[in-house]
């Protein structure tokens, strides 16, 4: 089948999509956007989190056909040209990236949190990111990064 989807502001088309493919597979293997990660492909780890029509979703649990006509934003779409989004900047600066495999999903989830709650408390950050597994950092520096990003956004 053919799938038409807007990704990071650009209309994209994928041909010969098999009905069982996920949005994650289409993004990674057909549209050349491997930023969203294939860590569990069971909706448990949050590594493939993308925006679908402005709402965070696990791209591994969205069937490719369900994405037809939708507006998808991936980690590749968070920066504007060379300018990183504050949440991306803060993850680098605060040491919240180690192996980095969970990072794309965490960035989208954290970006969404700060959009909804500009000054999140620690408990709110923890609840918002509870669906994103990280095996490297122990999460302390991720908390630092989200706090820092929220402060940066407030200043802009």
């Amino acid at each position: 089948m053919r799938v038409n989807v807007t990704v990071n502001g650009e209309p994209r088309r994928a041909d010969n999509v098999w009905e069982g493919e996920s949005l994650l597979y289409v993004l990674r293997e057909r549209l050349g956007l491997p930023g969203s990660k294939n860590a569990c492909e069971q909706g448990e780890c949050g590594s493939c989190t993308v925006y679908v029509d402005g709402v965070p979703a696990g791209a591994c649990l969205v069937a490719a056909g369900q994405a037809e006509g939708r507006d998808v934003v991936t980690v590749e779409g968070l920066a504007e040209g060379d300018a990183l989004d504050p949440v991306q900047e803060s993850f680098v600066e605060q040491g919240a990236v180690q192996c980095g495999f969970c990072t794309p999903g965490l960035l989208v989830a954290a970006h969404d949190l700060i959009e909804r709650v500009p000054e999140p408390s620690d408990v709110e950050i923890r609840e918002a990111l509870a669906g994103n597994l990280c095996r490297c950092t122990g999460y302390e520096k991720i908390l630092d990064a989200v706090r820092d990003a929220a402060a940066k956004k407030a200043l802009r």
């Binding site: 098999w18 069982g20 493919e21 990674r28 293997e29 050349g32 956007l33 491997p34 930023g35 969203s36 990660k37 294939n38 860590a39 569990c40 492909e41 069971q42 448990e44 780890c45 590594s47 991936t74 980690v75 590749e76 920066a79 990183l84 991306q88 900047e89 993850f91 680098v92 600066e93 040491g95 990236v97 180690q98 192996c99 980095g100 495999f101 969970c102 990072t103 794309p104 960035l107 408990v123 950050i125 923890r126 609840e127 990111l129 509870a130 669906g131 994103n132 597994l133 990280c134 095996r135 490297c136 950092t137 122990g138 999460y139 302390e140 520096k141 991720i142 908390l143």
Partner: protein, 767 residues
């Protein structure tokens, strides 16, 4: 054929900062933009997808194997079995006992039996179902203690079911004491649970060889094992590291290496393999479960008199790192304490359980949980404060460990315990509490009723780097040249960056040694000498040492060049700010001018000091290079009615010798502690009759951001005079000491024995 379209990147981001500072990762921006090429992101025009058929049985004879129907499927390009392995169908890290593809016997559930390549991953998955395998199912051997001693059991390997037995005898093994405590402790099977799946892309080459791009911890050991199975000379099997999504020991053994290369060579096309999460649980080795019998004897004043222990490590179907686990487990069995008399025995055995191998804290995690449980039991028997008992018995520089080795470097164990004990405690809960901070959290299971608080300590000793006589080394090539009018250094090693920050460190060392700003890190590959494994907390020490040596050789070559130009040697020359500076501070040459079109390149190795095998009878010997030490204090709240645990605070003090990148050191300690927390209260691969019952992130739980409490980290720097820059391996100790600290805190809260981790709700409620 060419390199893949998405391939490993040279890291050129230049962020100032030398040794002792905390510059940012050179791969950080790529990673947050989603542009960093992990091994599962690799892509090549015309590539095929590989897939693996795995045994559903833990122990069975293969009676019939027919791949013809699978091969006939449209879109399937090759289906291969053990008969198609071009070279020797056997590999292994310590013992050569693992078939690349099972022959007549399968020894664990998930063992690879056949592989195939197809146009689309789904075609590959469907075609696997068309492979016909008839099994004669056999009774699995699942009890490690029986496997160690019962000769009537069937032999899983020609040499029997024992992988290694090690005895350690120190002083009087039959010593007696005033106060004696004993216990039997068990530890479940933990998984590395790295997020990036096993994956790689094999590209056939025109010379009949193959280029493999992959995620691994040790390129050269993979190259040696893969080339042997492929029947190719080493130089025809070239490996390049692509982005690694975490490792923690789980990438030390082969997974898709031989398989993807076999399929690429057979089809003449690039073949990508990428495990899904279910397959990942079967495709890598796990931490050894263990059962440990311990007895401690002490004087009435609380001085240790003896330790006697027997420990059984379940190695599963193949040896992997079991011999090392037995070596580490026995040599580290009494902990960071002075013990004059000891009698220790450790067994590592084959069973039909999943294969166990390397995981962070290798071989030290198990005994530390046991002896730290014993230390609390002893403190209770003596009426002593648990921290005080540890301080009283703490080893120090000059102590003799259980193998007779004298510790000739700082060992500030007592200070670590004091420091972690003296950190401020969280406030005692008063009044109405936010339910999100209570055990059960937002599930609203309690409002504080039935919740009790406990405090516990965990202290550990871990050997750094490879041991028992291995010549363990690393190689670095450093090239200095002028690019755009500026001196630039390029560091090339085969050392695997697995997330720990080695790429940052390589830049820091080169900047410091060569006195310049711009340093690039070349992708790690097998075109440069062996760097050993990114494991055993060894890469900063060993590859750090190699980069230092290569940089110093480059500097010497530059000084020689300067002497030639100037017509005189420069007294006490150093490099700073891109210039050669004499001892008196005079700038004698500008590097950019001096070098011009010339590039200086040097390759050097670093070998750590010699270690020696253990005496097989007494276990005595200078087996280890260096030890790392850490101490944790945990504060927990426990809901006695439901058995739910909330770790309220987890603090750590660790000696790192020299904090090369202080922020990265703290991050290692935080991340390691999270894995220790996981083992204490949630992480276990459940195995029944040799079968795994929870191979998914739905059922195998790792700590989330809600499970990890705030941490205070206190880093000590007591330089090791024998190590480059005084460093001490950092990565493993925090994982090891976190687990017993939490277990001891839960015991302190509940008064229960709790002789097994992970501690589950039913252990607390007794239901």
């Amino acid at each position: 054929m060419s390199a893949p379209a998405r391939s490993p990147q040279e890291l050129q981001d230049t962020i100032a900062g030398g040794i002792g500072e905390s510059p940012l990762r050179p791969d950080g921006t790529l990673k947050v933009r989603g542009e960093f090429a992990y091994s599962s992101d690799l892509w090549h025009e015309d590539m095929l997808w590989g897939a693996t058929l795995r045994s559903p049985h833990p122990h069975a004879r293969i009676v019939r194997l027919d791949v013809s129907r699978a091969l006939a499927q449209p879109g399937v390009h090759a289906v291969l079995t053990h008969e198609d392995v071009p070279g020797e169908n056997v590999y292994g890290l310590k013992y050569q006992d693992t078939p690349a593809l099972a022959g007549d016997l399968v020894r664990y559930q998930g063992e690879p039996v056949a592989i195939l390549a197809a146009d689309h991953p789904e075609i590959a998955r469907q075609a696997l179902k068309e492979i016909v395998v008839e099994y004669d199912v056999l009774e699995p051997i699942t009890d490690p203690e029986r496997a160690a001693h019962d000769d009537t059991l069937p032999k899983l390997h020609p040499g029997g079911n024992l992988v290694r037995h090690q005895r350690i005898v120190k002083g009087d093994p039959a010593a007696t004491a005033d106060v004696v405590v004993s216990g039997v402790y068990e530890i479940g099977m933990q998984d590395q649970a790295f997020l990036g799946p096993e994956s790689g892309l094999a590209v056939p080459a025109e010379d009949g060889g193959v280029d493999l791009y992959l995620a691994t911890q040790w390129l050269h050991v993979d190259q040696r094992q893969t080339a042997k199975a492929l029947g190719l000379p080493l130089e025809k099997v070239r490996l390049t590291l692509s982005g690694v999504g975490g490792a923690f020991g789980g990438r030390e053994d082969l997974s898709m290496q031989i398989h993807s290369c076999m399929l690429a060579l057979r089809t003449g096309r690039p073949v990508k393999m990428s495990y899904n999460r279910l397959e990942s649980f079967f495709g890598h080795v796990h931490r050894h479960p263990a059962k440990m019998y311990y007895e401690h004897g002490a004087t009435k004043d609380g001085e240790l008199v003896y330790v006697r222990a027997k420990m059984y490590f379940d190695g599963g179907a193949y040896a992997s790192k079991t011999p090392v686990v037995v070596g580490n487990g026995t040599t580290l069995s009494v902990g960071p304490y002075n013990v004059p008399n000891a009698h220790i025995e450790g067994w590592g055995v084959y069973t039909n359980n999943p294969t166990c191998g390397a995981m962070r804290g290798l071989g030290a995690v198990q005994p530390t949980y046991a002896y730290e449980s014993q230390m609390d039991k002893l403190a209770a028997a003596l009426g002593l404060d648990p921290a005080e008992l540890r301080i009283r018995n703490a080893m120090s520089e000059g102590s003799t460990v259980v193998t007779g080795q004298v510790v000739d470097f700082p060992a500030p164990v007592a200070e670590l315990v004091q420091r972690v004990r003296d950190l401020p405690l969280p406030p005692e809960p008063t009044g109405e509490r936010d339910i999100r901070d209570l055990p059960g959290g937002a599930s609203n299971t309690t409002h504080g009723e039935g919740v009790v608080r406990g405090i516990g300590y965990g202290v550990t000793i871990k050997n750094i780097s490879y041991a028992e006589g291995l010549d363990d080394y690393s190689t670095a090539r450093v090239r200095l040249e002028v690019i755009g009018g500026e001196p630039v250094a390029l560091v090339h090693t085969a050392a695997a960056e697995v997330g720990q920050g080695l790429v940052t460190l390589q830049q820091q060392i080169a900047r410091t040694e060569l006195g310049l700003t711009r340093v690039s890190v070349h992708p790690a590959d097998t075109s440069v000498g062996d760097a050993g494994s990114s494991s055993a907390s060894r890469q900063t020490y060993v590859t750090g040492g190699a980069v230092r040596n290569a940089c110093r050789a480059v500097a010497d070559a530059v000084y020689a060049l300067a002497a030639l130009r100037l017509g005189r040697a420069v007294e006490g020359a150093t490099l700073a700010g891109g210039k050669i500076v004499a001892a008196d501070g005079e700038v004698v040459a500008d590097l950019a001018e001096l070098l011009g079109e010339t590039a200086v390149e040097e390759t050097r190795e670093f070998h750590h000091r010699k270690t020696y095998p253990l005496d097989p009878e007494t276990g005595q010997g200078d087996a280890h290079v260096q030890y790392g030490f850490s101490a944790h204090r945990a504060v927990v709240d426990v809901d006695l009615d439901l058995g739910l645990v909330k770790v309220v605070q987890l603090d750590c003090a660790q000696d790192v010798g020299k904090a090369m990148n202080p922020d990265a050191v703290v991050a290692q300690i935080q991340g390691g502690s999270a894995q220790g927390l996981g083992l204490a209260v949630m992480e276990e691969i459940l195995v029944k009759d040799g079968k795994v019952r929870n191979p998914s992130f739905t059922d195998y739980l790792i700590p989330t951001i809600l499970d990890m409490p705030p941490m205070r980290v206190d880093v000590l720097e007591r330089p090791d005079p024998h190590a480059p820059y005084g460093v001490r391996g950092v990565g493993e100790p925090p994982t090891i000491s976190a687990t017993p600290a939490i277990a001891n805190a839960i015991r302190a809260a509940t008064g229960l024995e709790l002789p097994r981790v992970p501690i589950r709700p039913e252990h607390i409620t007794g239901t």
